[in-house]
């Protein structure tokens, strides 16, 4: 008993350090959350931590900021735009990547090795390299400032990592599986749909989450290809503009930022395991 007590005491500093660290990590986000529920006058006059003087006095909280932000400021529209961008921006690249990963892993064709090395190299190529040439093409095809343009862009930027991750998984499936499929006369297409796809569901799930969060949280691609078109702007672009134009209206900024974060947070908390698995599988995203 005393042994356990001295052990606990000697670990005291460790616990204190860890708990302080966790607080430091949480406080900024908590500040955002509380501020978004406070009336403008309070936000302008006192720090958000003053709500803890009487935390259960509910008259100091309000939903008005969210009403304003979702309605008049246009975060509601931006939220729909973000969904319109993210859903195809996830489905298209993951679909293409699943085909490509299977081909790279199990089909024999000339140049396979070198093509895959190019994929690996592309993982770290800065997006910035591609902006000017692609923007020129998009301008000519009238794709700049449209949803299909952004879908295409996200497909291109997402493919290297999604192909790489899925290739690692599909390449790890036992080769006997493919031998017996070909003995039974299955075509590559049948093998893919009947065998590879069902077996890769966990890997595909983590790739989907990864790509979805990446597209949802992206600012730069939206800024470049959607730039001056407010009615297609996603949440990130809207919040960034808001910080520029209404930099002192903290009750609006915090509410808008929270609207932009709510979906990633839900995804994170409900599917954390897949998310972590995706990170572990490919810590090389460019």
């Amino acid at each position: 008993m005393t042994g356990r007590l001295t052990k606990a005491l000697s670990r005291g500093p460790l616990h204190i350090v860890i708990i302080i660290l966790a607080l430091v990590w949480m406080l900024p986000t908590l500040g955002l959350l509380f501020t978004s529920f406070r009336p403008p006058n309070d936000v302008a006059c006192s720090g958000w931590w003053t709500v803890f003087e009487h935390p259960f006095n509910f008259t100091q909280y309000t939903l008005r900021n969210y009403e304003t932000v979702i309605g008049r400021v246009g975060m509601g529209r931006a939220f729909l735009n973000s969904l319109t961008i993210s859903i195809p921006g996830t489905i298209i690249p993951v679909m293409v990547a699943a085909f490509a990963a299977y081909a790279f892993a199990w089909m024999k064709f000339p140049g396979r090795q070198i093509l895959f090395i190019i994929v690996v190299a592309l993982l770290v190529v800065p997006l910035q390299m591609t902006f000017i040439p692609i923007l020129r093409i998009f301008n000519r095809l009238h794709l700049a400032g449209t949803f299909p343009g952004v879908w295409l862009a996200h497909t291109g930027y997402g493919l290297p990592l999604t192909v790489y991750l899925l290739h690692n998984f599909i390449g790890g499936l036992p080769s006997e599986l493919f031998d017996s499929a070909s003995i039974d006369g299955a075509s590559p297409l049948q093998t893919f749909f009947r065998l590879v796809l069902p077996l890769s569901v966990p890997a595909i799930a983590s790739v989907v989450i990864f790509q979805f969060l990446w597209v949802w949280n992206d600012l730069l691609v939206a800024l470049i290809y959607l730039g001056g078109t407010p009615d297609v702007a996603p949440v990130t672009l809207k919040v960034a503009n808001l910080v520029g134009s209404r930099g002192q209206d903290w009750e609006l900024l915090t509410a808008a930022a929270f609207v932009s974060m709510v979906l990633p947070l839900i995804v994170f908390f409900s599917l954390q395991r897949y998310f972590v698995r995706g990170i572990l599988a490919g810590s090389v995203k460019g």
């Binding site: 900024p28 902006f131 949280n217 930022a257 995804v267 990170i279 810590s283």
Partner: protein, 232 residues
Amino acid sequence: MLTAFRNNALWVVVFTTFTVSFGLALAVLLDRVRYEKIIKSIVFIPMAISMVGAATIWKFVYAFRPAGASQIGLLNAIAGVFGAQPVGWLIERPWINNLCLIIVGIWMWTGFCMVILSAAYKNIPRELMEAARIDGANEWQVFRKVILPLLKPTAAVVATTMVVTVLKIFDIVYVMTNGNFSTEVIANRMYKEMFNFRNFGRASTIAVILLLLIIPVMLFNIRRFREQEAIR
């Protein structure tokens, strides 16, 4: 343009050092407490949100009002408790504001380093550490002589990922200062050349420089990939 390179160099050094060492420290220390999972989630949450969100969160932490007014930013309120004058965290050039931006990056990416290093740490056979302890090594020696060498390859991969991330860093600076007060980084300068100055030639040059800086990492990745394939 020199400012952008200087700042980016600062980002590379400070950001990479702190994310990797915090990640490493957390991976090792959290393994010893029972509430590991909760703390890990807390540190990891910022990875899920956008850099725009993170930048907004921290801009509020750094909020600054002249002395005498009530401070609504957390950091200046804390400074006030200790009797210090309020500081314009995002204005004081060149060190304070750049470091304040880098802190936002560290806050976001430490969780990433922690998750990967923690997975590698848990793969180290416990017997190795036990053997060292029985031989009379103290905890620090176990860390230096057993854990650190075994985690080195993973730490190298994580560090290169951080360098790649930081060379392209854009959103945080764009939202928080837009590169004003000498906080510009390479990617922001390129954006400005493209859209503010309509100078496509210069913007392309900056992109090429960025690519040249990243080529060593690319070669490192390819070599690592080939080694993995050779094992398989």
